[in-house]
Structure formats: C-alpha cells, structure tokens
Symmetry: C2
Subunit: 152 residues, 2 copies
C-alpha cells in the first residue's frame, strides 16, 4: 500500500516528470534518499508504468483527431480477438477501448488531414470485415487536455 507521501510524489511526477529528486524533497520536506527510494518502489510495484514526453499533435502535422464508435457483427471471442489484433496495426489508431453499452469499441484516431482520414476509414477500417457500423466524431477543440489521474 502507498501512503500520502507516495501519493504526493505520484501527483508531482505525473504533472512534471523532470522534477529532480531534490526539488520533490523540498516540496515534501524530505531529503533525497527517501524520495529516491519511494520513486523506485513506485516504479517496481507498478504504480508508475512509464515516463513519456508529450508531443504537440498539431506541430507534427496531425491536424485531425477523431473518435470512432465501432459496432461489430459477430461477438464471439475469436471475432473479438481478430478485430483487436487488426485494429492495433493501424498507427493512426492511438487508443482503443472495448466498450460495454450501445456500441463495441471506441477508437481514437489522428490524421494529417481529411484526405488521410478518409483513406483510413475507407481503405484500412473497411478492410476489417465484421464491422457493422462506424460513427465518427470529429474533435473541434481539446477543452481539457489529458492531465493525468486524480489522486487523493
């Protein structure tokens, strides 16, 4: 189990992974050693899964972001596995969630422009059989850009 100091460390690191151990120690009134040990423990025990640089989507030319609701025809385990394997291979798909409710999958797609997106839908997505329906929702603006998890 983790205590409140660990939670504070998680909160700090998910907002800025470049904070030094000394800086974190200053904020939490602890010396370097306990901060260092606690971070290593959080990494080993899987609370911290990775460290990543976040990249500006539009700067790298990906002006379109789209969420697609996907409904399948067949829902047997083998069809599910097949679909998930297929969808992973498209690098336009940057996230994929299996949904319980009115449709089956929600995927997050990025593309350079509408031509590229249209190509993705009509060539790549369409190549997966077993898809019954696709509903695209275009992101006009990111109101709250992913900021990490609420940790209390």
């Amino acid at each position: 189990m983790i205590d409140s100091v660990d939670k504070s460390i998680l909160k700090l690191l998910q907002s800025d992974a470049k904070l030094t151990i000394k800086e974190i120690g200053n904020k939490l009134n602890l010396s370097a050693t306990p901060i260092f040990e606690r971070i290593k423990r959080l990494e080993r025990s899987g609370y911290i899964t990775s460290y990543k640089a976040l990249i500006d989507r539009k700067k790298v030319g990906l002006s379109l972001m789209v969420f697609c609701d996907i409904s399948l025809n067949q829902h047997h385990a083998s069809h599910i596995a097949k679909f998930e394997k297929d969808i992973q291979q498209f690098n336009e798909v940057i996230a994929c969630y299996h949904i319980g409710g009115s449709f089956d999958y929600l995927i997050k797609v990025v593309a350079k422009d509408m031509d590229e997106y249209q190509n993705f839908v009509s060539k790549k997505l369409a190549s997966i059989d077993n898809i019954r329906k696709v509903q695209s929702s275009f992101v006009m603006r990111e109101v709250k850009t992913p900021i990490g998890l609420p940790i209390n």
Copy 2:
C-alpha cells in the same frame, strides 16, 4: 522545421522519456551535444510540451473509466464558455473534447467505483444546467493504451 533526426528523437522520447542523451546518441549515431541541442530546441519550439510519469489507473483505485457524450441545450458562445468552465472543475473529468457532429462534448471520466460515478453524474454533472442529454459508455478494457502519436 524539423528533420528526420528530430523526428527520431521525438519518437524515442515519447516512448521513454528516461532515455539518456548518451543512449539516444548511440541509437542515432551522434554524440551527446547535438542530441542535447536538438532536444532543447524541440522543447523551446513547442514540439515537446511536457514530460509526464504515467500512472496505473487501477493501482490507484480508479477501477472505472467512462466516456460520456454530452449534448447541450444552448449553443451560444457564452453558454459554451460556461459549460467548459464548469466541466473543468470536476477532477473526475480527465479529458474533454468539443465535438462537431451528433453531440457536443465527449468527456473522459474516472471513478473509484459505480457509486462514485453515479454520484458524479447525478450530483455534479446534473448541477450544470444547459445539459440536454448524457450518454455513458463504460470502458470494459483498454485494448490499445495511449502510446503517443505516429511520427513519420
């Protein structure tokens, strides 16, 4: 503009921000200085927006993840601004997108359990007037966990 070396650096850092400058240099057959200078340039020019530690959602007790489609009643600029200001204040909401299409907003919500989620919907969301309709889609499984952007 950025060149292919910069793109390689972006790809490496978005997959693992803990790579040292020397390690990146080894992979790209360059010495430390150019890697260092290029990273600083990518940070200054906004290609790299931040560095973050990723945290295991379930480990920190957030077993529920839900996407909500939200439709508003009023769409004047002032109503839009009001809604966006309100929605940002809920820390359960970890992302919010303004959508063009069949509904208005897509929000990503995390909660400890169904009770907490139900409380969020019926107490917090419901306190925002101007909401016409909310449709919840529960994530059963994350098939492809956000892995960063495709950079070519």
